[in-house]
Amino acid sequence: MEQTLRRNPALRAWLLIAPAGLFLLIFFILPLFIVIIYGFLERGTYGGVVWQFTAENFSRVFDSLYFSTFLRSLYIAVLTTLFCILVGYPLAYFMTSRPPRQRNLLLLLLMIPFWTNFLIRTYAWLTLLRTNTGLINVTLMNLGIIKEPLPLFGNDFAIVLGLVYGWLPVAVLPMYASLDRLDRSLVEAARDLYASGGQVFRRVIWPLSLPGVVAGSMLVFIPSLGAFVTPAILGGGKSLMIGNVISNQFLAAHDWPFGSALSTLMMVIMLFATLLYFRSTALKAKEERA
């Protein structure tokens, strides 16, 4: 057995990927095809599909209503990503400047929020943000700092806040990883050549940590774009994101084909975003080698 394996590296490779490969084939690739195929079928009146080919679902995707919802989701996802970088980058930088023992502790602290279910943590925000009985507004009003409650709930502010809160640790980790790998002697060299603090950051640290920033952005952007729990809870159900439209097609509208078409479109967009990311990092690597 061992000998056969040694003589036959191809077989060995196949055996190694078989468990994961089979799992993904059955539970990811095949369902994916079902989604794509359903996108081209007609709806059953109360759910399900009728096996009749149509391309109408995909043309409906560009209907102004759904397209503007998509743009809104894009706007919220971009805002979320920006804030995650803005808040997360300094934190990641701070973490790498600590001694190794402290770093591990900080990493652990970063993970603690994940010990509690995301849904529960989102509901917890409700008690803070509620307009008239929320902890923040009640405290500020009782202290006499404000007279009218602040609009903290049921708007884009609440949605972005909830998303940034949820995805911040995910953004920090890759930025931390790339900052951690950064060779400190380069910073010293720049300093020796009389670069100012700002210049060192702009021309040495930032470019070298860019892959981490891009990776962190991807990890935040993609789930934010498809988010549907946060807008439903913190948005008060008053604003739609594309994730809500998709879940509504299945849970409320009984329109599986249209939901499938929207999902397919989302996947295509994510795919392009990912490809763009890989191309930019590949270009970067090429430049570095040159």
């Binding site: 995301f118 849970l251 509208a253």
Partner: protein, 376 residues
């Protein structure tokens, strides 16, 4: 490099956690395992054994939880409850192949759809002798005459509840559809996150049939709903009554029993059926076609148990919905039976209507509802 390895490990953990979180909706119940050692207490049916536990798929706060324990004592079957928040969600779950539920509680119009779609099992009346306790008008409901597929569980009305110390008593749907930015309630109002119910409110306000499929009327209703949205804190079908009770909101569109339950926390809440009329509903106990014979038998036993006059009375009193159980009235206190929020007088009842399935127009409703929800 070791540290880098840890970061990767952490990333993996996050990815898994994230994957776990992106599925917030209640997971469909796994099939209740049929026990092989269970010695079923007497209750009938040939060789079918009773399962150890069954799942009841129910609305939130829609049963006296003590009854589960009593049923378990009587039958040996443990009941686990899972919840949904709209008929559409229930229908979607069953359509999507979720199995393992022994008893579900769809409303009138949804029962009609489910029968048409073959999602319900026919009830074995031999296992439900207490069926005879129902009031006559509930044995011949239009969506299922003769209780072939379902047994009426509770009935109620849709209207609105408000905090009477802070709001002048409104009597009309106009309080939702003619928002006044200077009023106290502005920004402290919710409507049901339910397309059929919210459209019914708008259609009743406009004086149209709440089951209309006329696009012009529906568009008018959509515009009214968008106008109403200006003063909404949100759309909510699950916690609206608690939010009025806590003082977060002052007015909410919702179901009568929910507000009556919230009065236990805040006695200033008042429920009103609007003068233009609105929705009357009957929620029903049904057994999905996907139930195993064991689950079906236990489900029928649970239905029969809930039809016991004394049990039905206690359940009604606990959740504040009117019981269709005639025999239960003997066990209900006088002031409960005389409460017009629970048992509306005939002249109010005359103005209320059932929601009915709208067939193909369903997609129009949903499309317009999406427009309402995405309006800024």
């Amino acid at each position: 490099m070791r540290r880098f390895y840890y970061v990767f490990l952490l990333l993996l953990v996050i990815a898994l956690a994230a994957a776990g979180c992106s599925q917030p909706a209640a997971a469909p119940a796994t099939s209740a395992p049929a026990s092989d050692t269970q010695t079923a207490p007497a209750a009938s049916s040939d060789s079918v054994k009773l399962p150890e536990e069954i799942v009841m798929f129910n609305w939130t706060d829609y049963i006296d939880p003590d009854l589960y324990g009593e049923f378990e004592e009587a039958s040996g079957v443990r009941v686990i409850e899972d919840n949904y928040s709209s008929n559409e969600e229930l229908l979607a779950k069953l359509q999507g192949g979720s199995a393992g539920y022994a008893v579900i509680v769809p409303s009138d119009y949804t029962v009609g759809i489910m029968i048409e779609e073959g999602l319900l099992a026919k009830l074995d009346h031999a296992n439900i002798p207490n069926l005879s306790n129902l009031a006559d008008r509930f044995t011949q409901v239009p969506y299922d005459p003769g209780s072939v597929y379902c047994v009426p569980y509770m009935w109620g009305t849709t209207g609105f509840g408000y905090d009477s110390t802070k709001v002048d008593p409104p009597a009309s749907w106009s309080v939702f559809f003619e928002p006044d930015p200077n009023s106290d309630i502005y920004g402290r109002v919710t409507m049901l996150d339910d397309p059929r119910e919210s459209f019914a409110a708008a259609l009743a306000y406009l004086g149209y049939d709440i089951n209309t499929t006329d696009e012009a009327q529906l568009n008018e209703a959509k515009d009214a709903l968008i106008r109403a949205k200006a003063q909404l804190a949100g759309y909510d079908s699950d916690t609206y009554e608690d939010l009025v009770a806590s003082g977060e909101n002052l007015l909410a569109h919702g179901w009568n029993g929910d507000f009556l339950l919230a009065m236990e926390d805040n006695e200033n809440i008042v429920y009103v059926t609007p003068k233009e009329g609105g929705v009357v509903f009957v929620d029903n106990l049904c057994i999905p076609a996907s139930a195993t014979p064991e689950q079906k038998l236990a489900g029928e036993m649970l239905i029969n148990f809930l039809l016991e006059p004394e049990v039905a009375a206690r359940n009604s009193e606990f959740i504040y919905y009117a019981s269709p159980n005639k025999a239960a009235e003997a066990f209900l206190p006088e002031d409960f039976l005389n409460d017009t929020s629970i048992y509306p007088p005939a002249e109010v009842l005359d103005k209320l209507q059932y929601l009915e399935p709208v067939g193909e127009a369903e997609s129009i409703y949903q499309r317009l509802w999406d427009e309402v929800k995405s309006a800024q």
